[in-house]
Structure formats: C-alpha cells, structure tokens
C-alpha cells in the first residue's frame, strides 16, 4: 500500500469481482437453492453466502501487495505466509519445498534425511532462561525432531556487528556448546562475517540442520484426520513474553524465563511409545494458533480446541492481559503441538508426561471433518469463536 494512494482499493475490487464471476457464476449452491425454493433468502443464508465468498477469497493464490517489506512479513502470521508462498515457493517451486513443513524430507541413496534452516535475530541477545545461542541450537534441533528425524549435525553462520564485545560472543558460543551437548548434536561447519557498526544488532545467527529419519511413518500436518486429538506438551507463551519483558521498554517485571529446550529426547520417547502420531510442530513464532491454522488449511479439516484446556502459566496470562495479547499467538521455544490418532491418546500422553519437558502435556482439542479450514475455540466462558492467523505479530523479533 505504500505510495500507491487508494488506487489499490479499486484494483483489488476489480480482481475480486472477476474472480467471483468465474468461480460462482450462479452464486448459490444447489442445496441452498433447493432449501429456499419458494421463499426469500433468510439472513442466516445471506450470511453463509458471504462466508462462502470469503473462504473462496482466502483460498486464492496469494499476492504480495506491498512495495516494501514490513515487520509483519517476519512475524509468522498471514503476511509471512503470503510472502513465502508468493515470493519463495513460487520461484523455487519443487515437490520437496511444497509441503512447507518445518524441515524438508530428502531421500539420498536410500536414506531418508531431514534438512532444515533457521535464522536468529532475537533482541535482546541475552534474556532470562537463555540467549541467542541456546535458541539457535534448540530451535534447529526441534525443527528436525518434529519432522520425525534424529538430529545429527548443525551448521552455524555468524553475522557480527563491528564493535560487538568478544566476551558476549564467548558467552553465546559457550551456550551453543552446552546446548549441542544436551541435544546430542555436533556443529560441524560454519561461517563468520562482520558488518559495519549499526548493522546486525550485535549478532545474527543462521543455522542449518541435518537429521536422519529412521521410522517409516509419514508425518505432516496434511495427514490430520477427523477424530484425531490435538496435544500440547506444556504451558505456552513463556518465551515470547520473557523476550517482550526483557526488552525493558515496558517497565514490566515478572518472574519468567524462556522455555527454550531441545525436544528430540521427548519426541523419541513419544514415537517409540506409539505409531499414532500424525504430525508434530514446535510452537514458535505465531504460537499455537498459527500451527492449528496450518493443520486446518493443509489437511482441509476443522480444528476445535477448548480454551480452558490450553496450559498457560498464571504469570504469562497476567502479562498477556496487561499487554492486550492472546497467549495462543505467543511463541514458545520448547513446546510441541502434536496431532495424534485419538485411539493412541493414552500412550502418547503417558510418554510425554514421563519426560521432564512434557509433565504438563494436555489434550487441548480435536480434529473434525466439519468446517474445513477453520479453527474453532470453545471459550472458557462457554461460547465459541474462531481463531484466525494474525496479520503481523504483537511481539516482534522474539526468535
């Protein structure tokens, strides 16, 4: 919208009208028409028509309308998704990229491998519970682990700002060494660049990770089926809120630390305990809400969750209320969302509960065949509402 004046509005309208003409020449579904034969369209039916039109619009090929990148493009929500699909997927298009899971699954000479990459631009670099080094190792390990791979090797590329304290770099590297040891991975290659003072905010880290897939499950959010259970491994939102408070701009103090942790150990137990896991994701940028939407869209299913089943620490809830943000959208860095065959819920929960990182694992909802593409929340109050992707992120640069 930058610099375009309001011409984009007319353009957008024309586009939607053209689409509407080609997609719904008759506008009404046969069933609807039959039902209302002989009587005027009711309000509820008119509303449904509008909702159908909106769903059709949402399914259309995404287009980037901005002329410049904004912070929303990095938030993990709608704008990020549009950028990824319209810019990167469109250009690089190939079947390995298309699933857009946390890692790509490769077959090389008969072995199934997982490959992932991540960049870390968190600000501040050091925060209660960890630092950018911890995030870099754990985040990459987790992307591999949720894809069902055993994480093995990481790369670490550093972009350092001129003037950055060597002592700080030592701290970060020490964290990465410790984190890698806990996770059981090795950092086997890397790169270092330095940019002028004023760029890179001290330190940016880019990683790539490789793991091996040794089971024969097909994991992926597109495999979710009606009846499946939605499980979360513990309280959500600790990391995002910790970072927000650590920035110091809000003058808020709380006894809170990041939940950054490697999930590969817990996931290995989970996969050993049951073959009913359909998909796993780690709940980072965009939070649980974003993952649920990805499931709904990829698998063409509905997701129903219960607000009072979602574990959130009291302090996180308090901070979120104060800031006016919803914990469902807040990042964690050591939490898992798993879609599990309903019949296997028992063994899955037992495996998670047995692990220190999964003590508070809980079933938060289930998959339904109704209302495909939509995430419904049953509020603690007993009403229902939908949970959509946010456009941007109330908490920028948290990972």
């Amino acid at each position: 919208m930058t610099g375009q004046g309001t011409n984009w509005v007319d353009e957008a309208l024309r586009e939607h009208e053209e689409h509407a003409a080609t997609e719904h020449p008759a506008t009404e579904q046969p069933a609807t028409a039959a039902r209302r034969r002989g009587r005027p369209v009711t309000q509820a039916e008119r509303e449904q028509q509008v909702l159908d039109r909106i769903e059709a619009a949402r399914r259309r090929r995404p287009r980037i309308r901005e002329e410049r990148i904004t912070m929303s493009h990095g938030a993990g929500g709608k704008a990020s998704r549009t950028l990824i699909e319209a810019m990167f997927l469109d250009a690089f298009r190939n079947p390995l990229l298309a699933p857009l899971e946390d890692a790509a699954e490769l077959r090389i000479n008969g072995s199934r491998l997982a490959l992932t990459t991540d960049s870390y631009v968190v600000s501040p670099l050091f925060f209660p519970g960890g630092d950018i080094g911890d995030l870099a190792v754990n985040g990459t390990v987790n992307d591999l682990a949720v894809s069902g791979a055993t994480p093995l090797y990481l790369s670490a590329g550093f972009v350092l700002e001129e003037g950055f304290a060597v002592a700080d770099l030592s701290r970060i590297v020490a964290s990465m060494t410790a984190a890698a040891a806990v996770a059981g991975v090795q950092i086997v290659t890397g790169d270092t660049k330095v940019v002028e003072r004023g760029k890179a905010d001290g330190c940016y880290i880019n990683t790539a990770g490789v793991g091996v897939i040794e089971h024969d499950l097909t994991l992926g959010v597109a495999t979710a089926q009606p009846g499946d259970a939605v499980i979360v491994s513990g309280p959500v939102g600790d990391h995002g809120v910790t970072i927000m408070l650590a920035r110091g701009e809000l003058d808020i103090e709380a006894d809170l630390s990041s939940d950054t942790a490697p999930l590969n150990g817990m996931i290995a137990s989970l996969l050993a305990a049951t073959s009913g896991v359909r998909a796993m994701r780690d709940a980072t940028r965009g939070g649980v809400a974003t993952i649920l939407n990805e499931v709904a869209t990829s698998a063409g299913v509905g997701v129903v969750v219960e607000e009072d089943q979602i574990p959130v620490r009291t302090v996180v809830r308090g901070a979120a209320e104060l800031l006016g943000i919803d914990p469902m959208y807040v990042a964690s860095e050591g939490r898992l969302v798993a879609i599990v065959d309903a019949a296997e819920t028992g063994p899955a929960l037992a495996a998670l509960h047995a692990h220190p990182l999964g003590e508070q694992a809980a079933v938060i909802g289930h998959i339904t065949g109704d209302q495909p593409g939509i995430v419904l929340l049953k509020t603690a109050f007993g009403g229902t509402r939908i949970v959509d992707l946010l456009v941007g992120d109330p908490l920028p640069r948290i990972c």
Binding site: M1, T2, G3, Q4, G5, T6, V9, D10, A12, L13, E15, H16, A20, A44, E47, Q48, V50, L51, R53, I54, A57, R65, E66, R68, I69, T70, M71, S72, K78, A79, T82, G227, E249, L250, V304, T314, R317, G318, E321, L323, G324, H366, T368, D370, Q371, L376, K378, T379, A380, F381, G382, G383, T384, R385, I386, D388, L390, V391, G392, P394
Partner: protein, 377 residues
C-alpha cells in the same frame, strides 16, 4: 486473575441467559447497541452471542476511537512523523490504520521513525532520551484515555520538557451517541453503556438518553458476565416499562465519575467547535484540542499540519458499520477486498473494530457450530 476470572464463569452465564430469554415477549425483536469497542471485542472474543436468544440482536456502535479517525488525520500524523528529527509515538492500535498513502506501519517501513508505546508516559521517556529530537505523541481515545494524555502534558510541563508535543485526536462519546439517537436509520431498544469512559465521566451524562429519548442505559463492565448481566438489566427495564440509567459496573464506576481526571482534562484541553468523524461526518463539540496555554505542547501549533480532508474510498462502508446500520458481513467488500491483511477501512484494522472482531472471531455459521459441538467424540 482476580476480578476477571469470576466474571468469566460459564455456569452463571446459563442462568442469566435463561432469565434473559424469559423476559423476551413472544414475537418481539430487541436491538441493543454496545457503544464501546472494548465491549464489541469481548462479545466476539468470548462467543457471548451463543448465550442470547434469537430475539435479541447486538448492534455495534462507534465506540472505537481508532475507527472514527478520518483518513486525512492519519495523513496529517504521518506528515508530522516524517518531519526531520522527529519521532512519533503511538499506541499499537493505530499502526495499521490506512491513510491515503499507507499506514504508520508502511511509513515505518519507508524509514519514518514511528514507535509503539503502551502509555503516553513512555513518550516522555523517549523525549528525555533524545533531547535533539522532537517527540510527537499521537493521542487518540475517548474520555477513558484523555486524562492520561492530560496528566502526561502536565508532567512534561512540570519537568520543563521542550521537545514533547501531542497531536490531539481525543473524541467524546456523548455526541456520538446523540448522533446515533438522532439518526433515522436505526431503531434501538437500549444501550450497553461504555464502562471505562464512565469511570471518568460518570453515569450522569447518559441521563438524557433515558429521559429525552426513553431508552434504557446500563453501564457495563468488560467481562462476559458483566455484559450478560447488563443485557438482563436492560430487558428487565423494558419489561417493567422503565427507562433509566443503571450502573452494572459499580465495582469500578463511580456515578459521579473521577473529578481529578475531569479537572486534568479541563486544565489542559478544550472542546473543538467541530470535528470530523469517519462515517458520522462533522459533529459539534465532539473532540478535544490543547488549550492555548499549552501551545508549546500542541503539535498542531508547533508544526504545519496539512489538514487535508480525504474522502474514504468509495467502496468503504465503515460509516454504516459504525452507525450500526450494517453488520460487518453486510459490507460489500467485507472479507474479500477488505481483510485484516488488506484493510480498506478502520473497522477492519482496529482490534476494537466491529469488522475486525467479526472477521477474527465471529466469522462462522452458528448453526454449523452447533452441529460440530454435537458431533464431538
């Protein structure tokens, strides 16, 4: 959370809903307007309409102070922010509001220094930290927020801060309500009164609604039980043939308001002769500006503000949504050309806007939802 969780308890909701339904006269439809954007947000966020009988419709009013800011004022603000050595501070809600050349967010991407703050006091901190820059605070909000801006200006004056000013867009709720009441488009049966505005102005300003227009008013809190109880009290008034101003939010709202807050506002600001509201046009005595004694803190005096009037895009029906004439989904561009990602108007972009609330929380077919719940394993 104390004073929050108790008022979100579901079991009491069923009882209230039953009482409300009992009070419905067969064959009669009831329309209540909630004026405050915070109420719209709560209603959708907690799925409150699930508890109401079909006979009751909630109409969303113009109580979202972000939503009523005309495009021209957004352009003016961006113009101010773009001046050399200037930092603009703003609440998060304003960041995506579209002006004619883009939003604050877009301007930020182009290099303009616009920073999000939680409190107007944070702007003072920034001003102290950057004595070489001019800090302009984008002041928006109804009377809930106006005292905070006033207190901030008083503090700036006490500290002798020379680089801080306010671009004042504070509006007042009563003229907006009166414009709704005088509008021929709408037949309302009562009002859910704004809870937090009332902590400042009290409940007396609404007495004319009950006395002259014969419509009951219940000043409501923001938790779902507060709103349900307020609807119950409205229905009770109607069934008993009363039209009064009642205070449901007694734990927070004093009937006479907050004198210190009103005094601070009066000290620093005065009513503008008129102000343009998106969708409602020009309304007299409906907005605040800085008094001349505080000219050194008034961005409209210190800077050259273009003051161009910009018409809303033809397709935008925010005005009708703000007046409660149209439901969000009845707007022709709702959800297609106008979405939270590509908002044409303010109602879709403000967290308290009716369109945003419906799109983000309510965009579902209620009958299908009931089927889904029944099919739960």
């Amino acid at each position: 959370m104390r004073f929050v969780d108790e008022f979100r308890s579901a079991d009491k909701a069923h009882a209230l809903a039953a009482r409300i339904t009992e009070l419905c006269e067969p064959g009669r439809q009831y329309k209540f307007m909630e004026v405050c954007g915070g109420h719209t947000h709560t209603i959708y966020k907690h799925g409150l309409e699930d508890y109401l009988p079909e006979a009751i419709t909630l109409v969303h009013g113009p109580g979202c102070p972000v939503c009523v800011i005309p495009m021209g004022r957004v352009d003016d603000a961006i113009h101010l922010a773009s001046q050399p050595d200037t930092i603009m501070t703003s609440f998060g809600d304003m960041m995506r509001v579209p002006g004619s050349q883009g939003s604050f967010f877009d301007a930020k991407a182009s290099g303009t220094d616009i920073r999000m703050v939680y409190s107007p006091l944070d702007s003072l901190k920034i001003a102290r930290q950057h004595p070489d820059k001019r800090v302009v605070f984008m002041a928006i909000g109804f009377e809930t927020t106006t005292p905070s801006t006033a207190m901030t200006v008083l503090r700036a004056k006490a500290e002798g801060l020379a680089n801080f000013s306010v671009f004042c867009n504070h509006v007042t709720i009563v003229p907006a309500i009166k414009a709704i009441l005088d509008s021929p488009d709408l037949r309302l049966d009562g009002f859910i009164g704004p809870g937090h505005v009332s902590t400042v102005i009290g409940c007396r300003p609404y007495e004319f609604i009950a006395a002259s227009y014969g419509k009951p008013v219940v000043v409501a809190g923001f938790e779902p039980l507060d709103i349900l109880q307020s609807i119950y009290l409205l229905m009770l008034q109607i069934s008993e043939g009363r039209s009064e101003v009642e205070n449901q939010y007694t734990r927070v709202v004093p009937y006479d308001g907050n004198l210190a807050a009103l005094t601070a506002i009066n000290q620093v600001m005065e009513l503008r002769p008129y102000f343009e509201w998106r969708g409602l046009g020009f309304i007299t005595h409906s907005a605040m500006r800085m008094r001349s004694e505080f000219a050194s803190f008034d961005a409209e005096v210190l800077f050259d503000v273009p003051g161009v009037r910009v018409a809303d895009p033809k397709a935008c029906q925010c005005g009708e949504v703000l007046k409660g004439v149209l439901k969000p989904w009845e707007c022709k561009v709702f959800g297609t050309a106008c979405t939270p990602e590509t908002p044409i108007g303010t109602c879709m972009v403000s967290p308290e806007g009716a369109c945003a609330a419906y799109y983000n929380y309510g965009r579902m077919n209620r009958h299908r939802v009931v089927e889904v719940e029944l099919s739960q394993p």
